[in-house]
């Protein structure tokens, strides 16, 4: 099996976002960046499929700035065979369609049976890079998968939708976006980290081209109106119910 997994360097979810008005983006000063949490499920699934099929290879591809080598080294340390960094200083802020176009260009011409993505990157929260890359490459894509099974030359997956579950099926080659619950991602151990240093990591400069989105501004969310502490313990409950009913009018 030839497997490709696409990953992204993102700010940690604990980040307190400070906006830089000049770049209309996150001020990266003091921000910790790491591998997108959902991409860990994608990498783990790629490695599990590869382990079950002798002679498989796992290639990690990322569109990122130069510092994103760190996240690709993490993926190599987890067990991927090689990595490709498509680099541009503004890459982390590229819109979903632009990101997908560049990844699709890089994947086109490579042989693949399976493409694994995280279901969303926790910075841009677009949920779209996997399905957009698949559409551009003309292959099916199953999204937000929590169960994955390879049955001969077809993939059977399960996902949760609002109030239900869907069982989806696709022939190979296809793309999969991975949701929490799919697997337990492995940690890179010391041996993996040492081996990763010698694995190939190809770096290619890319031109982002014309953006598909024109950003007007990025603003902090509106402050919530200040609330109040009603009181302590069970004695405060009656007043709470009264406020919900007569003041907030939500009951």
């Amino acid at each position: 099996m030839k497997i490709i997994t696409c990953v992204k360097r993102v700010p940690a979810t604990t980040t307190r976002v400070v906006i830089d008005a000049s770049t209309k983006s996150l001020d990266p000063t003091g921000v910790e960046f790491l591998l997108n949490p959902y991409d860990e499920f994608a990498v783990e699934q790629a490695l599990q499929v590869a382990a079950a099929h002798e002679g498989s290879t796992v290639t990690a591809i990322s569109l990122g700035n130069a510092a994103a080598q760190k996240e690709l080294r993490t993926v190599l340390a987890m067990g991927a065979d090689d990595a490709v960094l498509l680099t541009n200083d503004l890459a982390l802020d590229a819109d979903v369609t632009t990101t997908a176009r560049i990844l699709a260009e890089a994947i086109r011409g490579r042989e693949f049976d399976l493409l694994f993505f995280g279901k969303q990157a926790v910075d841009n929260d677009a949920h779209g890079v996997g399905p957009a890359v698949a559409t551009m490459l003309g292959v099916p894509c199953l999204t937000e998968v929590v169960k994955f099974e390879l049955d001969g030359d077809k993939v059977i997956c399960e996902r949760e939708v609002e109030g239900g579950r869907e069982i989806l099926e696709s022939p190979l080659p296809c793309a999969i976006t991975c949701q929490k619950g799919l697997n337990e991602p492995r940690y890179a151990n010391l041996k993996g980290i040492m081996k990763a240093k010698k694995k190939p990591l190809e770096i290619t400069e890319v031109d982002l081209g014309a953006p598909a989105l024109e950003v007007i501004d990025l603003l902090p969310p509106a402050d919530r109106p200040a609330g109040r502490i009603i009181g302590e313990g069970a004695a405060a409950v009656a007043e709470l119910v009264d406020a919900l009913r007569n003041e907030a009018k939500v009951l």
Binding site: H127, P131, T143, A212
Partner: protein, 318 residues
């Protein structure tokens, strides 16, 4: 005359309510653009209610009549119809299916997309889309560079129109797909999904043992249409299912009422629920960050407060 295409979402032959919000948003946007038509498209066969769809904002409805709703087929059909109509925008609900479809349709139309919007305005004759990024820690305002914009709309942020008009029902052909939906199973248990509910009763680490969750279930039982939510800590410890997780690596919710019991209010959790209209926090730690987001707070032990709350609510029901 502009046309906006709305991709409807159906399940088991019934329309999903979020699609009516998308029709209302399309109607308002078309009017602000100087007038035009709103076309609703369903990939899957369903029993279309011309009066309801018309009242909600649609001028006409096209039903492709596919037997099942593969995202691949729905996106290809939507892309073709948007080209045929020369639509200026394609709108759909930002559900799991909607999020799956948005970027595919944009890729098919070779244009940009704005997933999970919370507002659409028109300025100088062009649509401006607002969407939260970094899990709501920033609000992005953007225009789509291409001739057609694709946007999915977050639930509870747009309203269906209420017009006195019926939609005209027609047909269109469905594009084929390589992938298929083999089965759709309704979730067991009677509560709505946490992302769709108008009321969410959520618990965190402070709830303690799994048995204590019966106290939250009892409160939800007294609030019609309430869903149960959970913090990441609770889901990671296996007490509740991931489908209930609210926060940056779970679901983003904006109900009318969000009750947070034993939730400290980590930044990732707040990001997932601070658009709720009314937030109630119950926590024994008066310094817990959840109180900064709360409309109303009670400092106290959940074991004492929750049973009394369930009882007070039951009095209202009777």
């Amino acid at each position: 005359m502009s046309n906006i295409l709305v991709l409807l979402e159906t399940r088991d032959g019934s329309l999903r309510p979020a699609s009516l919000e998308a029709l209302g948003a399309a109607r308002k946007t078309v009017d602000e653009l100087g007038g035009g038509t709103v076309t609703a498209l369903s990939y899957e066969a369903f029993d279309a209610d011309a009066a309801l769809l018309g009242a909600s904002g649609a001028d006409n409805v096209l039903i492709a009549g596919a037997a099942q709703h593969s995202a691949e087929g729905a996106a290809a059909t939507c892309t073709r119809v948007a080209k045929e109509l020369g639509s200026v925008a394609v709108l759909l609900a930002a559900s799991v299916r909607g999020k799956d479809l948005t970027a595919r349709i944009a890729a098919g139309l070779e244009t940009g997309c704005v997933p999970d919007c919370t507002a659409i305005t028109v300025a100088d004759g062009r649509m401006v889309f607002t969407r939260p990024i970094y899990a709501g820690k920033g609000m992005l305002n953007a225009r789509v560079s291409g001739a057609v914009a694709v946007a999915s709309l977050r639930g509870n942020f747009f309203a269906a129109a209420s017009r006195d008009a019926a939609a005209e029902i027609g047909e269109t052909s469905a594009e084929a797909s390589k992938s298929v939906v083999r089965e759709v199973a309704a979730k067991s248990g009677g509560r709505p999904d946490v992302a769709e509910a108008n009321i969410v009763v959520a618990g965190g680490r402070g709830m303690g043992d799994a048995d204590n969750w019966a106290m939250l279930e009892a409160i939800a039982d007294q609030l019609p249409g309430a869903a149960i939510g959970a913090s990441r800590a609770v889901v990671d410890s296996g007490i509740r299912s991931h489908s209930e997780q609210v926060g940056q690596t779970g679901k983003t919710v904006a109900p009318e009422l969000y009750i947070a019991a034993g939730i400290s209010g980590a930044i990732q959790h707040l990001a997932g629920m601070n658009n709720s209209k009314c937030i109630v926090a119950i926590n024994k730690d008066a310094d817990a960050p959840i109180f900064t987001a709360a409309t109303y707070g009670i400092v106290g032990d959940i074991n004492e407060v929750l049973p009394v709350l369930a009882e007070e609510l039951s009095k209202l029901q009777n």
